[in-house]
């Protein structure tokens, strides 16, 4: 029997003294106190560089417009720009993106009932623009890869917002749940710090976004 006697546990909790234990429990009590004697209460010293690292990040995040983007990134929100009918030029481009994604996802494309124009409207209604943002100062390249583009590391590059370290792109995603990750410099897979993440089965994590007709959620 390895467990401590209940009275010895009260000794460890500081509710009893060794002298208050029955004589037959004194030895067990002394052993238990050796456990507490091993607790290391010494302060833990961190690197003196930590302050500067924190402040460098803080200054960087505070710089406008990156600060606004960073706050936006860290605030749960609907990340969408709803897809609505646009002037013809924009509309055609959005359609191509939505249709291409339907193919890549291998999900059912809208049933082609009345030719292309019908498909177009259904396709538009079922797609939502989703904006992806990553703060990655020092990165040379950033892309987003996920279930919506066959995890292709080069299919959806993000564009740097000036020299702020903030990278963004906007994609038209079909309604449904998608898993994704950012790819930094072509090799480093990074989860979205602003979105929930799940085990990817390979010892890493994937971020999740849910796209509904009402918009996108960081689900």
């Amino acid at each position: 029997m390895m467990g401590y006697h209940p009275l010895v546990k009260r000794l460890l909790d500081g509710e009893l003294s060794l002298a208050e234990l029955p004589p037959e429990l004194r030895a067990e009590g002394e052993e238990a106190l050796r456990l507490l004697g091993a607790v290391d209460r010494a302060p833990v010293a961190l690197s003196p560089l930590l302050d500067e690292r924190v402040m460098a990040a803080v200054r960087s995040h505070a710089a406008s417009p990156a600060h606004r983007a960073w706050r936006w990134l860290n605030t749960p929100r609907e990340v969408e720009l709803r897809l609505r009918l646009r002037p013809w030029t924009v509309w055609a481009g959005a359609l191509a993106a939505a249709a291409g994604l339907a193919l890549l996802l291998g999900r059912p494309a809208p049933a082609p009932e009345r030719g292309l124009a019908t498909q177009v409207r259904v396709g538009l209604r079922d797609s939502v623009f989703v904006r992806f943002v990553l703060y990655a100062p020092g990165a040379r390249r950033v892309a987003v890869a996920g279930t919506f583009n066959q995890w292709d590391r080069s299919a959806a590059p993000l564009v740097p917002a000036g020299t702020s370290g903030v990278w963004t792109t906007t994609l038209a995603l079909p309604v449904g749940q998608h898993q994704y990750a950012f790819v930094v410099d072509g090799a480093r897979w990074v989860v979205d710090p602003a979105a929930p993440a799940v085990d990817d089965g390979f010892g890493r994590r994937n971020s999740i976004v849910a796209v509904t007709a009402q918009g996108a959620h960081t689900l």
């Binding site: 467990g3 909790d13 052993e31 607790v39 010494a42 924190v54 803080v58």
Partner: protein, 184 residues
């Protein structure tokens, strides 16, 4: 240092929110060591703890506007760090990283009077703590390393005193089992 030491957390938080970003350095200096020990004991590695503390401080800055009671900045920051520590533990658990392959355990303290046996025991306890559940480890660390009463731990974690005691008593039994050869 004198002026810095006198400013309250609330005053500094308000100054930072008003645009004086450099004042945040005061809060960084004030809390970095104070919470380092908790993070180290929870995560079993000084280096991982350093990352956690750094990350918590940056996150706290990013969300400073959400700190509704600036005079309770310390507690608010602690909960951000606590969430970060739990997330790190979950991540490690999911990745199935054996404890021995985790980042190096911090060295046993170099005590000037340090009897070898005592140093060994301390080292063994640090290792054993990593074999407890995160909840057991937390209550042990907060009570016996940080010196909090059960009622105070309940205030921090939201758990009841009764459930904290149950966790702790299980932790005692488990530690006895793990530390057997070092306690006899």
């Amino acid at each position: 240092m004198g002026l810095e030491g006198e400013a309250t957390d609330a005053e500094i938080v308000r100054a930072v929110l008003a645009g004086d970003v450099e004042r945040y350095a005061v809060l960084v200096r004030r809390y970095r060591e104070r919470y380092a020990r908790y993070a180290s004991r929870m995560l079993g590695s000084r280096d991982v703890a350093e990352d956690a503390v750094q990350d918590a401080l940056v996150r706290a800055f990013d969300r400073l506007a959400d700190c509704r009671e600036p005079d309770k900045f310390a507690g608010w920051l602690f909960l951000i760090l606590r969430n970060r520590c739990y997330a790190e533990q979950r991540r490690r658990q999911r990745e199935g990283r054996p404890l021995d392959e985790a980042d190096e355990m911090f060295a046993a303290p170099d005590r000037p009077d340090g009897a070898y046996e005592q140093v060994e025991r301390t080292h063994a306890l640090e290792r054993a703590l990593q074999h407890l559940t995160a909840e057991q480890r937390e209550v042990f660390v907060l009570k016996h390393t940080e010196g909090l009463a059960y009622e105070e731990i309940a205030g921090v974690t939201g758990a009841t005193v009764a459930s904290l005691k149950m966790r702790m008593h299980r932790a005692y039994d488990r530690l006895r089992e793990l530390m057997k050869e070092h306690l006899e």
